[in-house]
């Protein structure tokens, strides 16, 4: 069981101080870590120094799945997590892996993430059954493909050794294009791409640039095939045990941060796009898909939604369908 208020303790001047731990799946400089640092700073200022949040970068506290369990047990109070790493527990969270689900515009996508009842109420309830409360969903940018051969239509994927995560849904998504999905650990990926053990991978641009994958890949397709979505989460019991003032301070800060993190990811993705374009030593051809080309992929990806409804979802795709309605009515 977790401690009720972190390590809350009475301080000399009558006020209470709080020490919380905030764990992320990324390292110093990357979007999630910067988010957590900024969040910690704002909370500290708003409470006149009463709230101190230690931010942990990825690595020391184990795997992403471990971090999820640490949030659940109250070992850490807060976490940025990607639904992908909880997909084996809260199956509905895998919907973020569906290709061509959200609109092409990252900005509209963020708007949907902010407003969606399907996500902020229905999906949140499912997470709360596991002591995880997602307070917000935000995009770290659209996902792109890098590869050793040009990809502009689904046929280009035929037999391509694509490094992906191993969930059946993601495997299904790439098999739909005829690709050959492979698993490879993070530490081996750069070398694996360099030597052709795997021939392609997917990530947001800032991640591709930060990990220098463009150095060992010849092409980057601006596919925007989905968004890398992260959630700001808290341990449910801990959060509900806080007094109302503190809860609303957190909620308010989480809300402010939505705009901040949108700008942060935008800035990082734009900066790294320039880095990749300007790396003349390791040229990378950037392929922008036309609307027609995107539709060809979209068509191939559509049946995967049925796979999700039938094989993954535990509520017959209800949350997905509600989200699809919300996306439709967002005017795209």
């Amino acid at each position: 069981g977790g401690s009720d208020e972190g390590d809350g303790s009475a301080s000399g001047d009558g006020g209470e101080t709080y020490n919380w731990k905030f764990v992320t799946e990324e390292i110093d400089g990357q979007v999630q870590y910067e988010y957590a640092e900024e969040f910690a700073k704002r909370m500290n200022e708003k409470t006149d120094g009463a709230v101190n949040i230690d931010v942990y970068e990825f690595g020391g506290l184990g795997s992403e799945t471990d971090q999820v369990e640490q949030l659940q047990s109250g070992t850490v109070e807060m976490a940025v997590m990607s639904p992908g790493f909880t997909g084996n527990m809260v199956k509905e969270g895998q919907l973020f892996a569906l290709h061509f689900l959200f609109p092409d515009s990252v900005e509209t996508t963020q708007q949907i993430l902010n407003d969606s009842e399907a996500l902020n109420t229905d999906l949140r309830e499912l997470y709360e059954e596991h002591s995880i409360s997602p307070l917000s969903y935000w995009t770290e940018g659209a996902m792109q493909w890098t590869s050793s051969r040009a990809i502009s239509e689904p046929g280009d994927f035929e037999g391509l050794k694509m490094r992906t995560q191993t969930s059946p849904l993601i495997l299904e998504s790439y098999k739909a294009y005829g690709a050959d999905p492979q698993s490879m650990s993070w530490g081996e990926l750069y070398t694996g791409l360099d030597q052709g053990t795997v021939e392609g991978q997917e990530n947001p641009i800032f991640f591709i640039g930060d990990a220098s994958f463009h150095e060992v890949q010849d092409y980057m397709t601006i596919s925007n095939h989905n968004n890398y979505v992260a959630m700001t989460t808290v341990n449910t019991d801990w959060y509900e045990g806080l007094d109302e003032d503190m809860q609303s301070t957190i909620d308010e800060t989480v809300e402010e941060m939505q705009e901040w993190v949108f700008e942060e990811q935008k800035k990082q993705n734009e900066e790294y796009l320039e880095v990749i374009k300007n790396d003349t030593e390791n040229p990378t051809e950037i392929i922008e898909l036309t609307e027609e080309q995107r539709n060809a992929f979209r068509e191939k990806a559509a049946p995967v939604r049925d796979f999700y409804r039938e094989e993954v979802s535990t509520v017959d795709g209800q949350i997905l369908d509600k989200l699809l309605e919300e996306i439709d009515s967002s005017g795209q």
């Binding site: 084996n88 527990m89 037999g159 191993t166 059946p168 050959d180 999905p181 492979q182």
Partner: protein, 185 residues
């Protein structure tokens, strides 16, 4: 006593079987995956996960086997310099404390297994309940603890020499070293 001996023999056989075939399965999975990928361009999605399961099982089920054989890695420099009486005392004290630690770890890891079970988490490739895998951790610690208690008991009963395990009779008291099983310490 005879019943105990039979049970012990069965456990030994199971441990040996698990260690042996875990390694063989890992080899088959890793080689099989590479060959199939290079010849048919198809990736076996479950190969890595099966290997990882085999590793977890072998590691924790191996604790008691390694204890039985006296093959856990330790830093014996100072111990080796100690006189017989001190070594004898340590050979009773160390397995005893080790057993207690392993029982404590067994208890906590059992709680962990129950927790994972409750969460309903499944493994990503096989979609098998994740706690099936973790259940070998408390079992391994528990059997390891029993084995260390047994090593302690042998040292209490047998007053003449120091017993560290079937493969590792304290070589300070021996003139010959038998060939060690495997090439690594």
């Amino acid at each position: 006593m005879n019943v105990l001996k039979v049970v012990d023999k069965i456990i030994l056989k199971i441990e040996e079987f698990i260690l042996s075939y875990a390694v063989i399965i890992i080899a088959l999975m890793v080689v099989g995956k590479a060959i199939i990928r290079e010849t048919f361009g198809y990736s076996l999605p479950f190969a890595d996960e099966v290997s990882q399961i085999a590793v977890v099982i072998a590691t924790f089920m191996g604790i008691s086997y390694a204890a039985r054989k006296g093959r856990h890695i330790s830093m014996s420099a100072f111990y080796d310099l100690a006189p017989f009486k001190a070594r004898k005392v340590l050979a009773i004290f160390i397995p005893f404390v080790t057993a207690i630690v392993l029982f404590v770890l067994s208890y906590y890891s059992w709680l962990y297994v129950m927790d994972v079970r409750e969460s309903g988490r499944v493994t990503s490739a096989l979609q098998m309940p994740a706690f099936y895998l973790y259940i070998f951790i408390p079992i391994g610690f528990f059997l390891g603890g029993i084995q260390f208690l047994r090593n302690m008991w042998i040292n209490i009963r047998n007053r003449e020499d120091v017993y560290l395990g079937t493969d590792a009779k304290d070589y300070n008291d021996q003139d010959t070293t038998e060939e060690l099983e495997g090439t690594h310490l």
